[in-house]
Amino acid sequence: MIDYSALLMIWRRDMIRLSRDRAQIAGSLARPILWLLVLGFGLGSAFPGFHGIPYISYLFPGIIAMNLLFASFLSAISIIWDREFGFLKEMLVAPISRISIAVGKAASGATVSFLQGCLVLAFIPLVGVSIGPWRLLAGLPVMLLIAFAMTSLGLLVASRMSSFEGFGTIANFVIMPMFFLSGAVFPLATAPRALQMVGLINPLSYGVDLLRWLFLGVRQFPLMLDFSVLLLFTAAAVGGAVWAFCRRL
């Protein structure tokens, strides 16, 4: 069903495009800087933080998740881009399965997003987080998983959209609540009940929780729950993206 040479080429094409897109690379660096500066240093200097951890350190895993989330949705736009500029047709008339195209786009989007998440790791020395090499290494597959899940979700949304503007509007309604209600910026445990409930159904909460446990040693949910939710959600999102692709495109 999956055509690996086609999948690889679809992935490679998006990598070539990324390497030529300086603005996207610059943007992926600027985003965490802004959030860390404004929230981390600005807000952080006004109150002590949580669990005895300085706020900027507490925020840091959330910022990694944030960059993954934003980058994932931005790379999902490429499917609208491909449709708008006709290149999608080149893929659709080729003797390859729709699944290969969907998985190829999810893989390339997730890679781009993962790389942008890794850029955030460069700020570790500035935010007072001390993390051993093994925990850092363990963080990478978690980041990749989050990237895959969010990109697939983005593709699912993008494949239902016919314009950049439409996608931008919907994406904001998905990205913003997902980010703010994932425990990335404040702990869900002490939040009002209603917000907590939303946080519990937000799959990103479990990704943030895992990252925070790896980076800072504190967590809210059982590890098994974090892993299971993340894996299940990734599988569901990839499946959803494939389904939307086969149906709509």
Partner: protein, 266 residues
């Protein structure tokens, strides 16, 4: 005997209450240069998209190279090439990368792929610019690259949806010479839509359609003779009327179309 290169039988396509293709039937023989004419919005591109497996018909059937478009899409796609009406290159890649992509998704082994890439680039005279980003190409160069790409896997049936639109006479002539060469050397079947009656006159047979229905199908000479007309354009106008046409597309699609046109002429 070989199956027809293209077989369309009682084909119907409706969308949103609009009948784009209405009980269309015709055959195209292998090696034929077939012209598919009609005013804007007549259903030409819709028919091509059904033949290329991009759209499913509402009823009726269509086949390419003996394979059914609805039930054997993979074999159909393997047998056909298409030069789309609208640009479909990745403009951020080089010509070489665009062709490499094409070769990979058509499962061409590396050696054959490289050989064909060289060959088609030479054919359209873009060998020296192969490593330039496509965005820096002129309109004619982009079109030539699309043609080169469409030929790379040597399809048995090549669809050309207004392949020479917006090109200067030099490029147009060049591309036409190429088409003739391909038919002579490879026996390729060419299915062409065009608004140029001069180009249509060079086809072996032409079909004239309007509002999704077939109005006439014969050689250009026979059509001119049968209508006692001076030329093919007169036949075309007699059959399809003198009124102006709008392309029947939905709101957002129309807007996208306009954006695309603006981009093309930029």
């Amino acid at each position: 005997m070989n199956p027809p290169a293209i077989e369309v039988s009682h084909l119907v396509k409706r969308y949103n209450g609009l009948t784009a293709v209405d009980d269309l039937s015709f055959d195209v023989q292998p090696g034929e240069l077939f012209g598919f004419l009609g005013p804007n919005g007549a259903g030409k591109t819709t028919t091509i998209h059904i033949l290329c497996t991009l759209l499913a018909p509402s009823s009726g059937s269509a086949s390419v190279a003996g394979f059914d478009c609805l039930n054997q899409p993979r074999q159909v796609r393997q047998s056909l090439g298409i030069i789309f009406q609208d640009p479909s290159l990745d403009e951020r890649l080089t010509a070489w990368e665009n062709l490499e992509f094409h070769g990979m998704i058509y499962h061409m082994p590396k050696l054959l792929r490289r050989e064909r890439m060289e060959a088609v680039l030479d054919l359209v005279d873009l060998g020296e610019r192969r490593h330039s980003i496509v965005r820096t190409y002129s309109g004619g160069m982009k079109r030539r690259l699309e043609v080169a790409r469409g030929l790379m896997h040597q399809p048995r049936v090549l669809f050309l949806d207004e392949p020479t639109i917006g090109l200067d006479p030099q490029t147009r002539r060049r591309i036409w010479d190429l088409f003739k060469q391909l038919r002579a050397q490879l026996g390729m079947t060419l299915f062409l839509t065009t608004h140029s009656m001069e180009e249509a006159s060079q086809c072996g047979r032409v079909a004239i359609i309007d509002r999704g229905e077939l109005l006439a199908l014969d050689s250009p000479q026979a059509l001119v003779a049968a209508h006692r007309a001076e030329n093919l354009e007169k036949v075309f106008l007699t059959l399809t009327g003198h009124g102006l046409r709008d392309e029947e597309v939905s709101g957002p699609e129309r807007m996208r179309d306009q954006v695309r046109r603006l981009k093309r002429w930029r």
